[in-house]
Amino acid sequence: MKKRMVRCRINDIKVEVPEGTTILEAARAQGIYIPALCYHPKLSVTGACRVCLVEVDGVAVVSCATPVEEGMTIITNSPYVEELRRDIIDLILSDHPYDCMVCQKAGDCELQELAYFYQIRYPRFSGRKRSYKTKDGNPFIEREMEKCIQCGRCVKVCDEIQGVCAIDFAYKGFELKVCPPFEKDLDCEFCGQCVSVCPTGALVGKDWIPKGRQMNIKQVDTVCPYCGCGCNITLHVSRNEIIRVTSKPDTLNEGWLCVKGRFAYQFVSSPERLKKPLIKRNGRFEEVSWDTALDFVAQRFKEIKDKYGPDAIAGLSSARCTNEENYLFQKFLRAAIGTNNIDHCARY
């Protein structure tokens, strides 16, 4: 069903969008930036942060929740709304630790970015700040609830995307807090979806700290090594070590990952990795050079092939190797050894 189009003006630009499009979506599609902290394109709209205010006919409205109406005149950057936004961010900062220096999220923090953009060095408002005794029972996710701006993205992603509802808001007013039921029974799949949507440093991967932030980090797009979903992941690499895994939102997995994809990358740098070719002599493995190992293997294969024929040799390939490697492996057995004795575990 084709939607009716509605026309409006955003900052004097004529814009036409399908009916039901919000002002925020319409503006962002035009490349007009409206800051927002609780809004997330893949989650429901709750309008909690109030940072995305714009001016419509002289009235401040939240752009994330207000649909464009025919003939609307929208101003996203009038002094009136800019000042309101600045002060709302100021209010948020009045209850936020000023520890960007050591915060894992520095450089990648949406709140920090807004503080920078509005140049809020010292907040106009100040007062009591929340402080919590951090309870650390979670092996994957580091929670610093003082940094939580109660935007609710984590709560929404846990319910709407993951379907787990492990966390929700508790208490009210200033004491509002995101936590598991009764602050104890965390029934969590540790998918880390909450970590991926958190705009601040309130939720970060435990293993990320203090391996590196944004400086000198190489990002490599690749595919998750676990199940067959083929989720797209981005490896963050510093000093030849994977320091965290993220996922981009515009892929088949929409930026979502599971506990393995997001957190189980340590095996790559495990000290138990095999580092040298090994040949068993007298029942014990001895480290040898590649040349020695490969010559030995080739020689033994040749001997066996000569003695029993090529079909006395078989190969098992791996569902965790690449297409190219699997191709080369079967080619090796078929062309170099001369047998079709090749299988892999996918058959069961």
Partner: protein, 539 residues
């Protein structure tokens, strides 16, 4: 895979993950999707929230059941009966797609119909334990849906009648016309990141890359031309057969790349004994696995993060992986090792890089001829993608099946090879759980994972535990006719009475010491890892 290929002429997920959210009915059978394919499960949840109906058939109360409208708790190994009785209802209530059957299929005839006729919901209830009302409801939901998708995994295939299960699923989809169109189809979810790719690439005893049969002279000639050597037209041994042949002394040497059959195959002790008896065993891996330990030569390989290449995911999407870090020590990419070994065997393979290898794959298999590394920079491509301007194929069988018409198969219910009896009163089923992966060689090296799940366990119904006087967390001995293991009891209503579940990630309590390596599917030789009879005792 063999099953689907027989029916349609090609075996893979017919649809894309993206399409799941547009299903109006999702039928998950034999798949613990939320734990084993979490991201696919997210799409299913999204579909449910958009209004789709979800039916789950699983002996265990898997986590996705929470989102299901209907849960059919069939006894392990009785899927054929369940599916046949659903089809019985669909035919009885005329929910079949006549046009589709006439135009697109063959075999919807007397023998097939007579067979289905026997599986009334009452018969279904008797065999599967699922109340007939639920069978009828499931049949109606599926039969009336416009865009129904079936999703299954090893819960369907790892049986002595795994192929029958797959045929039944195909029958169900064929008679309701839920194939060859967007958002409906038959979708085996692949368990490992590149299972699809390794079968695509011809790591199969009877297939060259692209499922081209080794016994066909034309195919053989084509590959002889491509590779410049004479090739064998004799189909090789399946993995299971390799073990038997080695035991018989006919197979003398094995080259195992990135696989740990000691733990993943049935009857651990048996596999271990046979592999030890080989003249020569080479294992190429990233860790000293249980299989590597008994090898003559161990070659250190690079992990996924240390190499370039492509993976093909469960929805046939070829995607690039990229080297991010250097391999540790002297570890090398598998491709380098194979090429070096081949050269020493007297067969030169010359490739400047992996892109070149992929170009050759395109020559060998036209379905990926249109995929190049430069195109993959823009994102993955789903095969078939025969030409450079082809966008890839979101769903299969639009306008027809590769083999011409989809074939109905007459499938009769057979009991699993081993049923619970007085001596071994419990039915054991095996599988994975959320935190670990396969034989654990990767995930068990992750500290945080070990903090949430570090030891093997057996899921046991609390009522059963009560009658055995077993407490939660107590150590128990689980024995089958083949062996026994000791592990912790975890009391949970996820399993019903008489059924137990053990994940196979743990070497210290390798569940495949219990399973039966001789209970094979006659067609594709899959062992029955999902059903065997066990006894449970306190220790």
């Amino acid at each position: 895979m063999v099953g689907l290929a027989t029916v349609f002429g090609s075996g893979a997920m017919t649809n894309s993950i993206e399409e799941i959210e547009n299903n109006d009915l999702i039928f998950v059978i034999g798949s613990n999707t939320k734990e084993n394919h979490p991201i696919v499960a997210l799409r299913m949840i999204k579909a449910v929230r958009k209004g789709a109906k979800l039916i789950i058939a699983d002996p265990r109360r898997v986590p996705l059941v929470r989102f299901a409208h209907l849960w059919l708790q069939q006894r392990p190994g009785t899927d054929v009966a369940l599916l046949n009785s659903m089809m019985h209802v669909i035919i009885k209530e005329d929910l079949v797609d006549r046009d589709f059957i006439i135009n697109m299929t063959e075999g919807f005839e007397k023998e097939f119909l007579e067979n289905i006729e026997e599986y009334t919901p009452e018969v279904g209830e008797k065999i599967t334990g699922v109340p007939r009302k639920k069978i009828i409801e499931a049949a109606r939901l599926y039969g009336r849906a416009e865009r129904a998708g079936i999703y299954y995994t090893m819960g369907i295939t790892q049986h002595s009648h795994g192929s029958d299960n797959v045929f039944s699923i195909a029958n169900l989809a064929l008679m309701t016309g839920n194939l060859g169109k967007e958002n409906s189809g038959v979708n085996p979810l692949r368990g490992q990141n590149n299972v699809q790719g390794s079968t695509d690439m011809g790591c199969l005893p009877d297939n060259y890359p692209g499922y081209q049969k080794v016994h066909l002279p034309a195919v053989k000639e084509k590959f002889e031309r491509l590779w410049g050597v004479p090739l064998s037209d004799k189909p090789g041994l399946t993995a299971t057969e390799m073990i038997f042949e080695a035991e018989a002394g006919k197979l003398r040497a094995m080259y195992i790349m990135g696989e740990n059959p000691v733990l993943s195959d049935p009857e651990v002790e048996h596999t271990l004994k046979v592999l030890k008896g080989l003249d020569f065993l080479v294992v190429q891996d990233i860790f000293m696995t249980e299989t590597a330990e008994i090898a003559d030569v161990v070659l250190p390989a690079a992990s996924f993060a240390e190499k370039d290449g492509t993976f093909t995911n469960t929805e046939r999407r070829v995607q690039r992986i990229r080297r991010a870090v250097k391999p540790p020590g002297e570890a090398k990419e598998d491709s380098w090792i194979i090429i070096e070994l081949s050269r020493r065997m007297g067969y030169e393979m010359n490739y400047a890089n992996m892109a070149e290898v992929f170009r050759e794959i395109g020559k060998a298999w036209p379905a990926v001829a249109g995929i190049t590394y430069s195109r993959l920079e823009q994102g993955g491509l789903q095969w078939p993608c025969p030409t450079l301007d082809h966008p890839g194929t979101k769903y299969l069988f639009k306008g027809g099946f590769p083999r011409g018409k989809g074939r109905f198969t007459v499938v009769r219910y057979r009991d699993p090879m081993e049923m619970a009896d007085e001596q071994y009163p419990f039915v054991l089923t095996t599988g994975r759980q959320l935190f670990h992966y396969h034989t654990g060689s990767m995930t068990r090296k992750v500290n945080a994972i070990n903090r949430v799940c570090s030891e093997p366990y057996i899921e046991l119904n609390p009522d059963d535990a009560l009658s055995l006087d077993i407490k939660d967390g107590q150590m128990v001995k689980v024995s089958s006719r083949r062996g026994s293991i000791t592990l912790k009891a975890y009391l949970t209503e996820i399993v019903e009475r008489g059924v137990v579940f053990i994940p196979f990630h743990f070497r210290e309590a390798a569940v495949n010491k219990l399973t039966d390596s001789r209970a094979l599917d006659p067609l594709c030789k899959i062992p029955e890892l999902k059903v065997c009879a066990v006894r449970i005792e306190k220790v």
